[in-house]
Symmetry: C2
Subunit: 504 residues, 2 copies
């Protein structure tokens, strides 16, 4: 049995190596690749994808899992295996089953369709014309529903899609959680909207790019992100990517006349990066070395970006340094004024620019629409209208242009139905983890206000990062916080924090 396990791990390691090589091709494409190279790059990626798929679906894996006693009824395999090995075979079985359930023809149809749909979407957004994108979305939805059927589900076809990004999460449960969030936060948003708003004009002053970069690097270093095992580069859309077990790179973007973009983008990606750099030595080389769910991944970026990075304690330490970096720009600004500006709440059209309070409403909107599309309650051509009215209900504002509404995100054109909920789940997890940190770390506020951020990293690493995929998100959450995901933590966090800025 030890032989079967070693061989299984060998294949798993090769899968990881190929994934990392492909990640480099992707990273390079977004950062340094010369413009004319794009055509061949997609051919290179597609060849590597084929090689990877062949490796990940070889019947040898199925045979080895069989030898290890793994089956639908016994996904953790033979009882004599150690804890980590049981987790290993469970995850391996999960991946293998998913990969082999999808017919090759469907996979390549999806690849082709999403590749076309993405470029059409980009054009349609540019022209703010949903009608161009609609027929492609329609075709894609047919394939996505087919995919859900192939993957299988017990309750709702959306479960199968959700499970890709948030393993084990159910539509029913997301609905329940989101209803609670909506119910609790809608009044807060309304209350804030009825008050005179914070003045955040200082954020729109001039912040030279190189200084933003330098300041961001100082914060990353304090967080424990080391350039020995990573990099920070610039790309059109910020992302984090693993190119190796000791090579996790971040990108961000800077705007010279809007402060938030660069620094909060950097901290956000730093949070993602620290997760991927924190897997335990024992699992570092294998397929357990990955995020257990996208919700947990997002919880790591959001806890750093928002809960820590937009807190008063954090800036009580960093604001004087920031003033040192931008002496002219910030000479006349007080810490209090700055803190209020970076935490201004205001319903807006674009999800990625939304504040903490309204952000989840953007997700709830997409979740509702995705559900209706998958069940067939909503037709594709009704989508822009449905978006507008739901936006009015949830955020109190109505986008007139499709580019500020239904066309704003790339996800659907990539076939990523079921992805959006993980953003909100990430926010909710982050607040629940935050509550646990405050309970378990003495002098949390002092730690933050002295810039001793690595104490937080050590906690996160020990409790969350090191485990990778060993525990499901649900199990991890219970283990770390003593209870299942409870949106009440997020609601309380929001009410507590924003009562200091608004009358809520």
């Amino acid at each position: 049995m030890q032989n079967s396990l070693s061989r299984l791990k060998e294949i798993g390691k090769e899968i990881k190596l190929l994934e990392h090589a492909m990640a480099l091709l992707g990273w390079d494409q977004e950062t340094y690749m010369p413009p004319k190279a794009v055509e061949e790059r997609s051919e290179q990626l597609s060849l590597l994808q084929t090689i990877l798929h062949r490796k990940a679906t070889t019947t040898e894996i199925g045979d080895l899992l069989g030898e290890l006693g793994v089956s639908e009824d016994n996904p953790e395999g033979d009882a004599s295996l150690g804890t980590l090995d049981r987790a290993y075979v469970r995850v391996c079985f999960r991946d293998y089953t998913k990969n082999t359930k999808l017919p090759t023809e469907l996979v390549s149809k999806l690849a082709r369709q999403t590749s076309i749909a993405q470029s059409v979407w980009a054009e349609a957004r540019e022209k703010s014309d949903f009608s161009r994108f609609a027929p492609h979305l329609e075709e894609l939805l047919v394939l996505i529903k087919e995919k859900a059927e192939c993957l299988g589900y017990e309750d709702h076809p959306y479960d199968a899609l959700l499970d890709e990004f948030e393993p084990g999460m159910l539509t029913r449960r997301v609905k329940e959680i989101f209803d609670r969030v909506r119910e609790e936060l809608a009044p807060v948003i309304e209350q804030i909207a009825s008050q005179p708003n914070v003045d955040d004009s200082i954020l729109y002053r001039t912040y030279p790019l190189t200084l933003q970069r330098q300041f961001g690097e100082v914060v990353l270093e304090d967080m424990g992100y080391s350039m020995e095992r990573g990099r920070l580069d610039v790309s059109a859309h910020p992302f984090t990517t693993s190119l190796g077990r000791d090579d996790v790179r971040l990108t961000t973007r800077y705007s010279e006349d809007y402060f938030n973009t660069g620094i909060f983008g950097t901290i956000h990606e730093g949070g993602h990066g620290l997760y991927e750099l924190g897997f335990a030595e024992e699992i570092k080389e294998n397929i357990l070395a990955d995020a257990t769910s996208l919700g947990i991944h997002e919880s790591q970026s959001r806890i750093w970006e928002n809960i820590i990075g937009r807190s008063y304690s954090f800036w009580s330490h960093y604001f004087p340094l920031l003033q040192h970096y931008f002496p002219e720009t910030l000479a006349d600004v007080s810490l209090d004024q700055f803190y209020r500006a970076i935490n201004k709440v205001e319903p807006s059209f674009i999800r990625v620019e939304a504040d903490e309070v309204t952000y989840n409403m953007h997700i709830i909107l997409r979740f509702e629409l995705e559900l209706a599309l998958i069940t067939g309650e909503l037709a594709v051509d009704e989508l822009p209208g449905a978006w507008r009215s739901l936006s009015e209900q949830l955020l109190g504002i109505r986008p007139e242009k499709d580019s500020e509404g239904v066309l704003q995100d790339i996800h659907w054109s990539m076939g990523g139905v079921g992805y959006f909920p993980t953003y909100a789940l990430g926010n909710l997890y982050s607040a629940q983890f935050y509550s646990a940190i405050r309970e378990q770390l003495d002098d949390y506020e002092e730690i933050i206000s002295s810039g001793d951020l690595q104490k937080v990293l050590f906690w996160l690493r020990e409790k969350i990062h090191r485990h990778g995929r060993v525990y499901t998100a649900e199990k991890l959450c219970e283990q770390v916080t003593g209870e299942p995901l409870d949106p009440g933590y997020f609601v309380r966090y929001i009410k507590d924090k924003y009562s200091g800025i608004y009358d809520v």
Copy 2:
């Protein structure tokens, strides 16, 4: 037959795509990769190498070649194939035969041994202690000789090694060529050494790096190298690498207090890069899109670096611009003084820093020693002594430290016996091509002295670059210049040029 050919080309294209993906992994490792990532990167490369090797040696290729009528006696296949297709199957047959002649065991032994030998060599050079490296070189030589036997040869085992880098070239012919070069140039070197030398102290003034970079980019652009299909980055050792048919990247290095390193490094790599960017549309996607030999490759870098880049005409155009970039450093320097400085001839220990006149002697030295090692006339422990005395004979100087002698180059530790001659062949080819350019391009001097460098590029592209591997180096040389490689061109070029600087 068309089906067999298409399938063969499909496999060939996949081989190219994999090679390019691997080239990206290599490029990244030398430029932007975080230091701790090195361990996994070598695992990624080794996995891709295995996948590539499997693809390149699949018996399907042999079968397809058979279907196309290809055999030892008929390497260009069925007579009904077009010219390019005949070249295609010839090159494919050559690669396949070479790849399959080497037993997998020998290939992996060589990979392991060279990997170890490289790190030992680096250490040995650091300490200038040949005895550390000697046992590894000894083991490597056993494997290299075994490789020569597997590959086969008619006349001399060194032929088999040479053929890897300079297809079709024979030891006998190299000997003949090098004897002529030595005979003709030795007196020139002696004559120059007996005269008071040029003062090149102006090259050791301060040249700020960013300005060197900017100036280099101007020259590259004038040469016709476009950042749409390439990049220029910094690495410890300059190199050029193809990451795609429209993605050929250069690296260089800069020294703030020595002018030659940065700018001539940039032009040299630019010459290599333009070759790889110049393959004709019809062959761009397939295995013909590669250098026909390393000698021809080097001829392209050397014609730009030395023959054009160190010519009086070139600097009569660029020196005023250079003064504009470095106004303080070069205010008191005349064009004439600058021209003489960058063309100073002085025997020195280190090959990569050698001037045009003495450079080939460094190669002849290595060639003689390689031959003696392969035939067994020289034992590994006699190598440092043999190096010293040969250096004295060829260059008139005797290195005392092994780091300035036998340990200076990485090639042997990489198993690259047979590589060095291509550097000298490149110099010789470049002079012969130069003579053809002067004959065929009206007003050559005017073209250069007006900075209209792309006229030279068009000539090189039409005559040399576009053909890739369609013609062997020998055939190409005859086609371009009307005769086989003749070292007399190089000798005349040297005597002509240096009679303007020295009394020769």
